[in-house]
Symmetry: D3
Subunit: 225 residues, 6 copies
């Protein structure tokens, strides 16, 4: 595989991305037909952050953060940097210096299928990171990878420009071409959920609200006193 | 195994349960003779909660939360819902809608050997959950399980009505028939611990307080300068 | 292996240790030539603590905390207790009573390649612990181990008296004989980082600041529009 | 929990057990309604063995095989020894001496949720073991557990006398009271499978044999050329 | 995501695939520029098999093998079936009946990022499977997925028709459009390796054969007597 | 840490090493006082091999096998190469070319806390390897490490020249200075075991042979009919 940097990518619609950020990961994932989710080992290094933005993608070598430096130049304000690795790795490939640089470019956050360090500093500067590990392990700059090619990150496939949504529930990828439809479905779903929440809070049971009693009986469920 | 819902269960004594909540997981587990603990991968989705209550149990299929809806109807104020799965699974089988419904029933919290989502919303509403994972992965409602049968959850055996104690140290199960004896033992232990704590804080060594020097020497321990 | 307690150990220079605490784990690890790091499964039981001190080491049996009692007597103010196990184990070998005793001796914290319990109490008393697990599982006092011999803890080798640095990024071991050189290298590195941080914050790219464009081209990286 | 040895247990019907051994784990598990399976980390230490027998159960402490010695006396010819632990552990709690003793009692094999050693010797003597790990780690004889009480082993609940079936596919537990019904269901299933196998081998598709085309279409599956 | 079955796919060149089978996984992976490898948790259920073929892909739900039945119809002689899941799962989604059917279609083997069962039967019939687990856990047929869309399996991206190579070293994916170039590179590499092997067997060191002494010295390696 | 190669090391006594190979891992580990064992994730890539020899040690970077080439030159006939990594890694750092070279030097086998590839070729040439993973993932030759310094491998500390014993039960390290004493203890133990084995095979119980009945009763064990 030739190492390349693709400079011009198409980004997911910014209105759709803005709405997704408000709707969050679980709702966006549902609206997408329950796909696109990264594996649950991807966790925020500090709680409470919630972002969305088009992906600038990196395929990196384990323990080598050379390509992250290359990728930062390709980031525009609002982007989310997504780093996949060619092998499982927990080394601290990202720290506060890279965070300072990404923030200066206007990037909204980092998703990395490897380790992150300088956790306290990144939290203090309000730069959100989702990673598979926290590790101070230093890395080298020895082998090329690529920027803005399709990558697999934490079990999900990301094309450059796809919308990334990340919050305390994890990280989901919405393909660029489906961003607007997903937002529409998610908004409808969300409206619907408000109503359901009120009913459930009043004591109405899901069994009744969703009319589950009959299908449960048909499936063979027995009640015993 | 026929899918069933057992409606009438006997619940652990509420006074005993109340005392256990104050004593916490580690003390209750010790008082029980060091048994009944769930595996340490069970973690609170937010820190600081501390609950105790009789168990309503669910045996669910991985990635299928149909039986949680069924179980909510069986919950009474003060109960703790405990969900085991027929296979290891991290899907987000529980979220804020189910949390709203459980809270409306007066349930004190959820213990689930699978994933949980809507972490921020559940924290905001003060509903505590202990789970093996956080995941936005959506689930289906396709296959029956059972409610209020004995289940294995995170390596522990729970009968319906057993007392569940959960806090930042994890989750412990106290069999219903042993709740009162356990509480008595735990209270004695706790009283004892306050005195020990004061001695240790004053600089007295455990070696002396527990009279360990002689058994250590007998076991063959040598000091070298 | 005969079970022994070595009473007189040489401790890493206290000035060096003090500086390391201010510099933190990632900087110390880098200054040491990227070695000495414990595996990233070692996590603080509460966030925000930052310590450094000479190691008092324990080799314990899994599920047996007898030797921790023995080791506390060997601790001096400023020490960090480091516990390795002869087999992987997550039992709660350390709790608030041992924490009270260690604190009374002036120890700064605990590093344990096993489980810890009484998390809330330890946090409330401000006693920091880095462990591989949180577990209420009780332990026995049945089999001897050793104190102040070289131990392997979370993949790192620690000699008694080595400097331990621990914060939110993890735990690093600086060999006693290299503490001062490491501090000098770390301080130089840190000074340098402040300057770099300012440049990156102003928008200068790492690609230019580190003069990476030419080596990247030589390595064969291609840009595609 | 008081440490006890229960001497008189009721064993699953020996005819039923004999049939289960011929039918194997996957068929028995299906006939049981897809329950009773131990977690897939339980693997045979050598391939090709296939056993079934009533369970003699042990609850042991991690790294302590004292109770296995106690349990051997309770084994009768044809029994399977099942060992659960109070905490996750991979120590080599069983080796060729214990294997020799168990074999002399006529026991058919061992299921242990911990480590096993002397793998070559056990294979040479034809004694089958399913374990979570292979480890030479030595163990102590220091703390009591119990024999022939209900135990959780690798996520499954076993009562003394339940039928255990184990082969290359893993380990399944058939509750004693359901052994005969399970065998009847399994035999029916097996007969049925022979016929299906012949059809599939002749090139008939499962899609047609199971009449899946209509339900797939109803569920919304689309074919694209 | 709409569930679809894509019927007409382009398959990797059969000559290239045949050569890859002879060259094996490690050589093919190297020739591809060290990419395309599935994670190392993918292991053969029996040792010694070696296959290559174009991929028919399946995206399945965890614990649900409905789509495997659908996919079998799309297989042609020489194909390799590749199954990815929407969430981590170890259930036994494939057994000897499906193996009989796949074999009747002329398929060469199965790659599944989930569990497999009937290990002995599949070995006896000589049908090779690479999976993440062995488990007898039964599955349902309740939720649709898709066939012949791009899927992520064990961390690798597979498009329908890509060449799959699998042996005792693992599983590698060669994109269809690069199959011939990869084969050419692999063959060259292999020829080269024979010569190297002979030199190394004669006692010539890699240090000399690869002329590493000078770069090692430049990098700063010191020899100490 | 300066990268160095130490050329002259003292090797464990060859007679002692020869005896250890015959006694095997479990017996040697017991004779050593139950220490020195590598973690049980270290498994042979093919079953049945049994080796012992003095260690030539390597500290390597993850995904970088440069130092293995350097270390081969330091191997003498009978040595065992032991490779530790500075971070967890499963890449295939060793294959049949390196195996051919090591074999030509007379080395007896490889212990590597990383991945291995060319499994079939290594088995065919009878070269034994114990590793944490099997992976075809290619590696680079970019960063220095060291040869013949103390290393941590799979949780065990190895000094150059220490005796390594490896078989189907795992890998144990016997410190060079304790090799002869360990062998003496192991031989005594082994003689003793033959007698015990005969007794146990004749039906005598461990309970009686080890005189456990009284201590069990004193510890509080109760028998229930």
């Amino acid at each position: 595989m030739k190492p390349v940097v693709v400079r011009n990518i198409k980004r997911a619609d910014s209105n759709a991305v803005g709405t997704m950020q408000a709707l969050g990961v679980s709702t966006s994932h549902e609206a997408l037909g329950r796909s696109g989710l990264m594996k649950p080992y991807m966790r925020p290094i500090w709680a409470g952050a919630s972002i969305a933005g088009p992906a600038v993608t990196v395929l990196a070598q384990p323990g080598d953060n050379w390509m992250i430096h290359v990728a930062i130049e390709q980031c525009q304000p609002g982007d989310v940097l997504v780093v996949g690795c060619t092998a499982d790795n927990t080394d601290g490939m990202f720290g506060d210096l890279l965070g300072t640089s990404l923030k200066a470019r206007g990037a909204k956050g980092l998703i990395i299928d490897a380790g992150c360090r300088d956790v306290k500093e990144l939290k203090d500067m309000g730069f959100p990171v989702w990673s598979r590990a926290i590790s101070a392990k230093g890395t080298v700059k020895a082998t090329l990878g690529s920027v803005n090619i399709p990558v697999v990150c934490a079990g999900a496939l990301i094309h450059p420009g796809d919308a990334i949504v990340a919050d305390d529930d994890g990280v989901v990828v919405v393909p660029r071409g489906r961003a607007e439809k997903t937002v529409a479905a998610a908004a409808a779903r969300e409206a619907n959920e408000g109503e359901k929440r009120a009913k459930l809070a009043s004591g109405i049971l899901g069994l009744d609200m969703y009319a589950m009693r009959e299908p449960l009986e048909k499936a063979g469920l027995k009640y015993i006193d």
